[in-house]
């Protein structure tokens, strides 16, 4: 049961803390019920937006961890060709996914009869949120993975729970802040 104990030991605190962050995200949504009622497409799109940021960050952490374990990325803070390929690959995927998400989201919204308010401004706000979060996550996760790996920890166990919750917390928060600023 060595592997079991290692996973529990390395994950328990961060998983509980991350869930706490999820609760804060729930409170952000719950206390902005008026915005959710005024722009109902938000409830439809928020899980997909959260996932988009979370997925790209999870893929990045998994890739960085594997690169560090097999030695194709050295545990140093430096820009390498490997890192550039990962950055551009994930950035282009994020942009393509964002376009698809907006198209499918609005299509589902129209089909299911959900009221659509200020579509162009909402598209701008969602794009701004995704791009800003992608940049923040990429830098933070690269530093985090190197830091943890150098200390003999598995970045997968720490960073994936952290980043998923951070994405779940920051996405609705950024959206609501931008909505308050721009609308």
């Amino acid at each position: 049961m060595k592997y079991y104990m290692k996973i529990l030991k390395e994950s328990i605190i961060i998983v509980i803390l991350s869930s706490l962050m999820g609760m804060i995200s729930g409170s952000v949504l719950s206390s902005n019920k008026d915005i959710l009622s005024a722009i109902p497409i938000l409830l439809l799109i928020i899980p997909a937006l959260n996932s988009l940021i979370g997925d790209m960050s999870t893929v990045l952490v998994s890739r960085l961890t594997t690169h560090l374990y097999i030695g194709t990325l050295s545990p140093k803070i430096q820009i390498s060709d490997r890192l550039k390929e990962d950055f551009y690959g994930l950035l282009i995927t994020t942009l393509l996914s964002l376009v698809s998400l907006l198209f499918l989201g609005y299509l589902v919204g129209i089909i299911s009869g959900i009221r659509i308010v200020n579509p162009l401004l909402m598209i701008f706000i969602m794009s701004l949120t995704v791009l800003l979060l992608f940049s923040i996550m990429f830098i933070a996760l690269f530093f985090g993975a190197i830091f943890l790996f150098k200390r003999g920890r598995d970045p997968n166990n720490f960073l994936i729970p952290f980043v998923t919750s951070l994405a779940d917390f920051l996405t609705p928060l950024f959206l609501i802040v931008f909505i308050i600023i721009f609308i």
């Binding site: 869930s19 959260n50 961890t65 374990y69 282009i92 998923t164 779940d168 917390f169």
Partner: protein, 184 residues
């Protein structure tokens, strides 16, 4: 394989999986915006949903990444998989319990809704997440193995696809749980 992935390969493998993820999440969004929104206790339920979606990501994300890494570096065995799955269930039970307690505290502090019996705050997250993980763990293991066998990079493919399955199944299991428990 993963060590030589070009940006083209990353896009080619990750983008289609992300589309599947988006579709799954939009289905979760439909359940959220058309079904759960009408419950009288919505204000309390929406407190738990992001935490449960996070918890799902916090548990099955690392489970998938660990399985994928073990496959890639050649250390995956039945024993390591079982310990990985057991640790994921143990973590889910402990954290779902904490989510219940935190929601109870937040409700008492800010929303003061008495519509939901106290015990439900603990039962809803525990039942929902156990149901959702029981779908997620076998699916992700099969998908990881299949991706690896087909020569794809499991890290690029499995996580986005499983996010779709997991987010939809978490929201669906949540809806199922509140219906079974008779939540108003």
């Amino acid at each position: 394989m993963e060590s030589q992935d070009s940006k083209g390969k990353i896009i080619k493998e990750t983008f289609p999986s992300e589309i599947v993820s988006i579709i799954g999440d939009l289905l979760a969004g439909i359940i959220l915006s058309l079904l759960i929104v009408h419950f009288d206790s919505f204000l309390v339920l929406i407190l738990m949903i992001p935490a449960l979606l996070s918890l799902r990501g916090n548990l099955s994300g690392p489970f998938i990444a660990r399985t994928s890494r073990d496959l890639v570096i050649g250390t995956l065995s039945r024993r390591s998989w079982l310990e990985n799955a057991l640790a994921t269930y143990t973590l889910s039970l402990i954290t779902a319990f904490f989510i219940g307690i935190f929601s109870m505290i937040l409700n008492l502090a800010f929303f003061k809704l008495t519509i939901l019996p106290m015990g439900y705050f603990i039962l809803i997250p525990i039942i929902s997440i156990i149901l959702a993980l029981s779908i997620s763990i076998p699916c992700s293991t099969g998908l990881n193995y299949l991706a690896f066998k087909k020569g794809l990079t499991p890290n690029n493919v499995v996580n986005p696809v499983m996010t779709a399955v997991d987010d939809f199944s978490t929201v669906f299991c949540f809806l199922l749980t509140i219906i079974i428990l008779g939540v108003p």
